[in-house]
Amino acid sequence: MAQLTYREAIRAGLEEALQSNPETFIMGEDVGAYGGSYAVTKGFMEEYGEERIIDTPIAESGFVGTGIGAAIAGMSPIVEIMTINFSLLAMDQIVHIAAKARYMSGGQISVPIVIRTVSGGGNMLAATHSQSLEAWYARVPGLKVVTPSNAADALGLLRTAVADPNPVMYVEHSLLYGSRSEVPDEHYTIPFGSARVARGGTDVSIIAYLRMVPVALQAAELLEEDGIDAEVIDLRSLLPLDTQTFIDSVHKTNRAVVVEETWEFGGFAGEIIAQINEKAFDSLDGPALRVGGVNVPTPYSRPLELLTIPTPEMVADKVRSLF
C-alpha cells in the first residue's frame, strides 16, 4: 500500500493509459507546456511528446468535439476541460454527439472518450468558476458520470473509465487534489455503479459524493459526540447509480440525509431521495432530508461563500433534526 494524493493517483492512472495504449492521447487547454491548470499533467509533455499531450486553443466545443471524433474513429482520447464551468461551451458536443451517437446509429458507433474535468467551489472564484454541474450530465442517457472522493477510488475508477467503450465524464474536485489516502499496490479496478460504505453506522445513512464525502465523514465524527452512529455512503458514480447500497443502508438505519455541493434545488439529492421513497419508504423513521448548496450564484466574498457550501456542522445539524 502506498500513500498517494488524489492528484498523484490520477496521474498514475493517466500514465498507465498512455503507456498501455499508443492510441491514447491527452488533449486540453494548457495540459502540456503549462502542465495542467491543477498540475495533474505536469511533465507529461516532456515524457510523452507533443504528439500525445496536446495543448489546444481555448475552444471547448472544438477540441472536445475533436476528441469525440477521434473516439468514434476508434482511438482512446482523454480530454481535459479545465473546469466543469467551461464544459458548458462544449455541452452541445457532449450531450448531442457523444451521448447519442451510438443510439442514433443503431449501435454502429461507440464513443470511448474520457472527459476529465474539475468541479466545485470554495476557492473564492466567484459565480462563474465555482459551480458543481456534474449532476446535469448525470441526467443524460448515454453518458457515464463518475465522482471519485479519494485517491484509491480515483485510480480504480479512472482505470474503469479508460477501459469503458462509452463516453465517461470523470469529475474531479479542486479541493481534493492534495488529499492523501492508501492506494493498493496490486492492480485493481472499481466498477461503475458500486457505491462504497465509507463508514459503517447504525443510526442514520449520510449519502454523499465527491468532496461532500469527507464532509460527511467529518459530520459523522461530530455526531459521535451526540451518540449518533452515522453510516456514510460514497456513491462514487452518479450514472450508473448504485441504489442498492444506500437502500440497504436505509433499511438498516431508518434515516437518510443526502449531501451534495451543488444547488439544493433540483439537485441530484432529490433523485436519491426519490429512490429512497420508492424503495425504502416503509423503513423510514422520519423524512429523508438533504443538505445542498445554497440556491444563489456563488459570491466572491469569503464570508458569504462559506455560507453557500455544506459544512460538517450543517450536515450534523440536519442529521440531529431527525432525532
Partner: protein, 310 residues
C-alpha cells in the same frame, strides 16, 4: 495619462501584496506591463460609450475612472466594493461609468458587446462599445459568431484585442493557425489594424482615435489588435515555466510607464519633481484605498439572497 498608468501599476502591485497577505483570494490576474493599452484606448472615449472586458479588468476599470477605493474593496470582498463584494477581481462592474463588466468565461463578453451595440444603433445613438478581448478568445466560436453579427448588422463595436502573446500559458503561435490575428477580421469584412507599439500610449491612443472615427461614421465594427506584454504570470498561481527570462527582458525595457515619463521629461513637458509628486499622490490614493478596503465591512449573510433577481 501618466498618473493613471502609475495608479494602475501601483494598485496592482499592492493588490499582489495583499493577495499574499490573504486579504484577497481567488484568482488575481495582473495587468502590469499592459497599462498603455487601457489608458490609450479608454482616454479618448466619451462618457456615453460603453466598455465590456475580460477577467484581467483592473486596468480598464481604473482607466475608466472607477473609484480606486471601491475597486480595492471589491478585491477584499467587502460590501463597499464595485460589485458589492460578490464579483471579485474578475467581475468589476460600474454601470454609471458605462463599465459593463469583467467577464470570466473566455469569449463570453463578445456577444454581450454586440448586443449593447445593437441597442445603441436601434435607438439611433452614436455612442459605441469597446470590447476588450485577449488573444486566447479568438479561438472560441463566440468570437467568430460575434464578429459576423456585428459586421452583418454594421454595429458600432470596437473589438480591442490585447495581444500579450499568451493565452494563459499557451503561445499564440501554438493556439492560432493565423497568428497575425487581426487578419481574421478580413474573413468577416471587418476593418482592422495591428498596432505594434502597444507599449507607447500615444501610439495606442492615435490608433484608437482612428478606429473611433471610422465607427462613429457609421461604417460598422472595427478590429484593433494591440501588441503588448504581460510582465507577470497569468494569475498569482502561475509559475511561468513556459517562457524564458531572456525573452522577458527586452519587454521589461519597454515598460510603458518608463517610456512615457522619459518622453515627457525629454521634451520638457514635465519635471522630475512633478513625476515625484505624481508618485506620491498615487501612493497616497492607493494607501487610502487599502485602508478603506480594510475598514469596510464584509457583506452580511442576508446579502447572499439579494441581487439574484431584479
Amino acid at each position: 495619462m501618466l498618473r493613471t498608468m502609475k495608479l494602475i501599476r501601483r494598485f496592482e502591485e499592492r493588490s499582489a501584496e495583499h493577495y499574499g497577505r490573504g486579504n484577497i483570494g481567488g484568482f488575481l490576474h495582473l495587468y502590469i506591463g499592459e497599462e498603455a493599452v487601457a489608458v490609450g484606448v479608454i482616454s479618448p472615449l466619451r462618457d456615453d460609450d460603453k466598455i465590456v472586458t475580460h477577467y484581467r479588468d483592473h486596468g480598464h476599470a481604473l482607466a475608466r475612472g472607477m473609484d480606486t477605493a471601491a475597486c480595492m474593496a471589491e478585491l477584499f470582498g467587502k460590501s463597499t466594493g464595485v460589485s458589492g463584494g460578490k464579483g471579485g477581481s474578475m467581475h468589476f462592474f460600474d454601470v454609471e461609468k458605462g463599465f459593463m463588466g469583467g467577464h470570466a468565461i473566455v469569449g463570453g463578453q463578445l456577444p454581450l458587446a454586440v448586443g449593447l451595440a445593437f441597442a445603441n444603433r436601434y435607438r439611433g445613438e452614436d455612442s459605441l462599445v469597446v470590447c476588450f478581448l485577449g488573444d486566447g478568445a479568438v479561438n472560441e466560436g463566440e468570437f467568430h459568431e460575434s464578429m459576423n453579427l456585428a459586421s452583418l448588422w454594421k454595429l458600432p463595436v470596437l473589438f480591442l484585442l490585447e495581444n500579450n502573446g499568451f493565452g494563459m500559458g499557451t503561445r499564440v503561435e501554438r493556439a492560432s493557425a493565423q497568428p497575425i490575428i487581426h487578419r481574421l477580421a478580413d474573413r468577416h469584412n471587418v476593418r482592422s489594424h495591428r498596432e505594434e507599439n502597444g507599449q507607447d500610449v500615444f501610439a495606442v491612443r492615435q490608433a484608437t482615435l482612428d478606429a473611433i472615427e471610422y465607427i462613429r461614421d457609421g461604417n460598422g465594427p472595427y478590429f484593433l489588435e494591440v501588441m503588448t506584454y504581460r510582465f507577470r504570470g497569468h494569475s498569482m498561481a502561475d509559475p511561468i515555466e513556459y517562457r524564458q527570462q531572456h525573452e522577458v527582458e527586452p519587454w521589461l525595457d519597454l515598460d510603458p510607464i518608463k517610456l512615457l515619463s522619459d518622453r515627457l521629461l525629454e521634451n520638457n513637458l514635465t519635471t522630475e519633481d512633478e513625476v515625484g509628486a505624481i508618485d506620491e499622490d498615487v501612493e497616497n490614493e492607493v494607501n487610502e484605498a487599502i485602508q478603506f478596503a480594510l475598514d469596510s465591512p464584509f457583506p452580511t449573510p442576508d446579502e447572499l439572497y439579494t441581487d439574484i433577481y431584479a
